[in-house]
C-alpha cells in the first residue's frame, strides 16, 4: 500500500500562510465549498445526512482525541429522530486539549479555525444538530478569540444561523471556554462542565449519544476529527482511505513531538508511519544522543523503551500491539540523560493535581503515588517502596473508578517502574546518603510531606 508515502499536508496545508484565520483566505483556498455543496444538494436529495455519515464511516476515520473510536460509528449511536422524543441533538467539539505533550488542536484552532468550523457544520448536518458547541480549554484564550471571530465571520457571511444559504438548515455554533481542568477533556465531564456543574465524569451507561448534555443525545468529537470530516466530504472517502497504513488506520494525522528532539513541533504525516521516520522528521534526538524512552500517546500512555519502539507503526493498532497507546499522538521523547524516576515523579504530580476528586481510589491514590515518588527521589525511599508503588498503582486501575483517569495516572508509574526499575532502586539504595543532607529516611518523609501539610497545595 502506498498509503505511507509522503503526501502534501492536508490538515496543516494553510497553517502559516498569510490570512489563514480569515474567512476571505479560507474561501479563496476553496473553503466552505463542501458546506455549500451539501446544503445545495440537501434540497434536491442529492445530499442527505445519511450520505455524509456513510462517507465518514467508509473513510475509516477514527477519533483523534485518544480512544480512536470510529467516528462514523459513534454518530450512528444517536437514536433516530422518532425515538428521541422531540429532544434536540447536540454536537460538542472537544477542544479541551490538556493532555501533557499534546498541542495539535491548538494549531488547528489558532491557525485555521474555519476548517474546524466547516467540519462541525458538516457533522451537524449529518447528525441533525441545530446548535453545536466548541468546549475550548480555558487557558487557550487566544484560540477562543480566534474561533469567536471566525464564528462571527461565518455568521455574517450567512454560513451559520437560521436557514443557512436558503437551504432550510438552521445551525448555531457557540464557543464555550472551560475552567481549566484536565478532566473536562473526558467527554462526560466535559458535558457536566458545559452544563455549568463541576467537571465530574458521569457513570456510563447511559452514554452521551443517548443521554448527553442537558439529557439530550450528544456527540462529542475532537477538533482534529472534525477537521478530518471536512476533508472526507471534500475529497471523498476513498481518497481518505488511501492515506495511512491499512484499512483500520486511515487518513492524515498530526503528531505532536516534544522532549529531547532537535525540532519539536506538530508534524503531519500519514497515520501509521514508522517511528524512525517520525523521529527523522523531528530532526532526531537532540545533540545526537541516544534514545532512552518514548511516551507515545500523551502522559497517560505507558512509556516504551528505545528497543520496544523500534519499527513500531505510529497508529492506534501499532502502538496497542506494542502494549502502549496512540492516544492523542503526543510523543514525548526522552534521551539517555533523562532521570526516569524524576520523570515519573513529574508526571505523577500532574495527575495528583488534576484528579477530579470524585472516586476514592483516584482521589487518594494519585497524591499517594506522588508523595511516595517525591520521597524516593528526595532520598527518603525504603526498599519496599518500589514494590509498593506497583501495588498501590495496581489497585487504582481496571474498573476501580468511574472514568479512566486512574488508569491513565498509573500507566506511567507502572511502565516506568517495570522498565527502569534499577533507577528507582538506585535512589532507594542511596537513601539517607550525605548528599541529601539528611539523617534518616523518616526525616525525609516528614520534610517532603511537610510541604504538603503546610499549605493546601504543594
Amino acid at each position: 500500500m502506498a498509503g505511507l508515502d509522503p503526501v502534501p499536508p492536508v490538515l496543516t496545508a494553510r497553517v502559516g500562510t498569510p490570512g489563514s484565520r480569515k474567512l476571505e483566505g479560507y474561501v479563496a483556498d476553496g473553503g466552505y465549498a463542501s458546506w455549500r455543496k451539501v446544503l445545495a444538494g440537501s434540497s434536491t436529495g442529492e445530499w442527505t445526512p445519511a450520505k455524509v455519515t456513510e462517507m465518514v464511516k467508509a473513510s475509516g476515520l477514527r477519533g483523534r482525541g485518544g480512544a480512536g473510536f470510529p467516528c462514523g460509528m459513534k454518530w450512528t449511536f444517536v437514536p433516530p429522530k422518532e425515538k428521541r422524543g422531540g429532544k434536540p441533538v447536540y454536537l460538542l467539539c472537544n477542544a479541551d486539549e490538556s493532555e501533557p505533550g499534546t498541542f495539535k488542536d491548538r494549531v488547528l484552532i489558532e491557525e485555521d479555525p474555519h476548517q474546524v468550523l466547516e467540519g462541525m457544520m458538516l457533522a451537524s448536518f449529518a447528525l441533525d444538530v441545530k446548535h453545536a458547541y466548541v468546549y475550548i480549554r480555558g487557558e487557550m484564550w487566544k484560540g477562543a478569540a480566534v474561533l469567536n471571530e471566525a464564528v462571527a465571520e461565518a455568521e455574517a457571511a450567512g454560513l451559520l444561523g437560521k436557514n443557512v444559504l436558503g437551504s432550510g438548515v438552521d445551525l448555531d455554533i457557540t464557543v464555550h471556554r472551560g475552567g481549566g481542568a484536565y478532566i473536562c477533556g473526558e467527554e462526560t465531564a466535559l458535558i457536566e462542565s458545559l452544563e455549568g456543574k463541576r467537571g465530574h465524569p458521569r457513570i456510563k451507561p447511559p452514554f452521551p449519544a443517548v443521554w448527553g448534555v442537558w439529557g439530550c443525545p450528544t456527540v462529542v468529537n475532537n477538533v482534529e476529527t472534525l477537521a478530518c470530516v471536512k476533508h472526507v466530504v471534500d475529497r471523498g472517502a476513498d481518497w481518505f482511505k488511501g492515506i495511512g497504513r491499512n484499512d483500520r488506520n486511515t487518513g492524515p494525522k498530526l503528531y505532536c513531538i516534544s522532549g529531547h528532539v532537535e525540532k519539536p513541533g506538530v508534524y503531519e504525516a500519514p497515520i501509521g508511519i514508522p517511528w524512525e521516520r517520525l523521529l527523522e522528521m523531528a530532526g532526531g534526538v537532540r545533540g545526537g544522543r541516544k534514545l532512552k524512552a518514548v511516551i507515545p500517546g500523551g502522559a497517560s500512555a505507558p512509556m516504551l523503551t528505545a528497543a520496544e519502539i523500534a519499527g513500531v507503526p505510529m497508529d492506534f493498532d501499532g502502538l496497542a500491539a506494542a502494549k502502549s497507546m496512540f492516544g492523542s499522538a503526543a510523543i514525548i521523547v526522552m534521551d539517555e540523560m533523562t532521570d526516569m524516576a524524576k520523570a515519573v515523579t513529574n508526571i505523577s504530580k500532574f495527575f495528583a493535581h488534576e484528579s477530579c476528586g470524585q472516586c476514592t481510589p483516584c482521589r487518594e491514590g494519585t497524591p499517594w503515588l506522588n508523595k511516595m515518588l517525591k520521597r524516593i527521589v528526595a532520598g527518603g525511599g525504603k526498599k519496599a517502596d518500589v514494590e509498593m508503588l506497583l501495588s498501590v498503582a495496581n489497585q487504582m486501575a481496571n474498573g476501580m473508578t468511574i472514568c479512566v483517569f486512574a488508569d491513565a495516572a498509573v500507566a506511567p508509574v507502572l511502565s516506568g517502574v517495570a522498565k527502569f526499575r534499577e533507577e528507582f532502586e538506585a535512589y532507594v539504595a542511596k537513601a539517607g546518603a550525605p548528599e541529601y543532607g539528611l539523617a534518616a529516611p523518616g526525616e525525609v518523609s516528614a520534610k517532603v510531606a511537610g510541604r504538603t501539610a503546610a499549605g493546601m497545595h504543594d
Binding site: 457513570i203 484528579s355 476514592t360 481510589p361 489497585q395 518523609s445 504538603t452 493546601m456
Partner: protein, 566 residues
Amino acid sequence: MAKVTVDGRTVEVPDTANALEACREAGVDVPHFCYHPKLSIVGQCRMCMVEIEGMPKVQASCTVPVRDGMVIQASSERARAARNATMEFLLINHPLDCPICDQAGECKLQDNAFDAGLPVSRMAEVRRLIPGYERTPIGPHVVADMTRCIQCTRCIRFCNEITETGELSFVERGGHTFVWTHEGKELANDLSACAADVCPVGALTVKEFRFRKRVWWLDKTRSVCDGCEIGCNVSLEHKDRIVYRTTPRVQPAVNDYWICDYGRFRSERLNEPGYTRPVVKGPGGEAKETNWGEALDAVRAALGRALENDASKVVVLGSAHLSTEENWLLARLFRDSLKVRNLEFRVDEGPARRMKRGKEWIHGTEAAPNSRGAEAVGIRRSRNGDGSALDLFLSRKNPPPAVLYIADATFSDRASDPAFVSLLRSASVLIVHARVKNALSEAADVVLPAANLSGKEGTFVNFEGRVQRFDAAIVPPPVVRTDLEILLHLGKRFGAFETGWTASDVFSRMKATVPGYAGLDWNSDDLVGNPPSTSLTSAYDVLGFERRPGEAVFSRLSVVAADVKP
C-alpha cells in the same frame, strides 16, 4: 421482578433495584458509603465493588441496575481485593481520632474497616490536612470537621435532592476535595441536622449532641414525634432516665429517613425538671405537696359537688398531646360515667412544619400530634367563636364553670400567658395534669404530675389518619404517673375502671368503637413501624438486628429506583 443470583443464592428483586440492593436482599452485606436509598446514585465511593458475570471488570454494585438472570459474585477474591483497596485508600488520609470523634460507634468507616480493612497501614507519608475547616459550625445545628470527610457527597445530595436548598458543595479538587457551604451561606434548612445523619463518618456532627454521650451507651426506643400532626417516626435515645437525642426512624409512609430540626431538638424538653408530686391548694390558697390519695380524693370531692349541682357547670379539656387511649379514657369517664357534656380540646395552630416523603413535601400545621385521635374518641374540637363551652366561657358569654378539668396543662402556648390563665382561673375549681411548671399549673387548685412522652406509651393518629404507636423510653420519676394511670385511678374512685389496665388493654377495649382503630393490632408492623436504626449512616442497618431470616427488605423500605441520570 428480576431473578438475581448472589454468591449462589437466588433472590427476586424489583426491576428498579440495583446490584447492591440485590446483594442485600440475598443477605450479603456489601459495604458502601455513598449509596443511600433515598438519594441519587453517584457510584463514587467505590466501596461496593463486586464481580458480575459477563462484565470483565469489577463493578460498583450500586451503579449496576439488575437484570433478570444476573449472577453476582460479591464475596469472590477479586471483589474483596477491590474493596480492600478502596478501604485502604479511604483510610490513608483519615485521621485516627476515633477516641475523640463523636461518630465512633456508629461510623460506617469504622464498621467497614473491620470488615474490609487491612490490619496495618502502609501509608508512610504525612496525612492530608484541611487547615481552617476543622470543628467549625456550618449552620445552627451542624458542626463540620473536614479532615474526617470521605467525600461521599451524601450531604451534598441530601441538600440538593431532599431539602432542595443546595447549601453544600465540593470545594477544591483531587486529593484536596472537601465539602463546605457556598460562600456566605450556612447550612440552615428545615431538615439540616439530617445532613449529619447521612454522613457516614464524623465529618458532620450534630452540635447539640456532640460529646454528650458515647453512642454505644444509648438505649433506643420507638417513639413518634409530637411536634406536629405529621407524626414522624423517631427513636428516643436515652441513658439513665435522660433522653440524649431524637433520631429519625425509617418510615416510608411518613418521614422516610428524616426528621425536621424542630422535632429533633424537642427532646431537650423531655428532660426538663417539673412536678414530681401532686399539689393541692389549701383553703388559704397555699400550695402543698401531697400524695396521690389525697390529691385524687380532692378531685373526686370537687367533681362530686359540682355534678350534684349541675353537670353542665363542669368543663373537661382533653388534649391533642394525649394519646388516643388517654383521650378515650377521659371520654369514658366524664361523658359516659359522669354524664359531663362539655368535653372538648383545643389545639394551637403551630408554625408550618414540613417533611419530605419520597419526592413530595407533606405539611404540618398544628402544634400537637393527635388532634385526629382526640376527635376520633368523640372529644369536640373547640375554636374561637364556635359556640363550644370553652369558647363561650373564654368569651365571657357563659359564667365560669364550677370545675375546669384540664388533662394537659401545656395544651396551648397561651397556658403561660397570665391574661389567658387568669381567665381559666376564674373557674371555681381548676384541676390540671402537668409535668412541667407553667403559669396555668401554678394557678391550679390541684396539679396531678403526669409523665411526658418519653415516659408513656400509646398511639397517635397522624394527619392522614395513620395510627402509630409510641413506646415508653424511660421510667418517670417515682411519684409521677402517666395520664393513663391518673385517669384509671380517678375512674376507680367513681367505679368506672379497673386500675390494672395498660395502654394496650385500653387499646383493645376501645378499638371496636373508635373510628380508624377497628381491626388494628397493638403489635402489628403498621402500628409499630421499623425498629430504631442500629446506625443511621447505613441504608439498610435500619432493619438491624430485628430482621428475620428470609424477610423481604423491599416491602419495608420502599427502595427508590436507581436513578443514575442527573
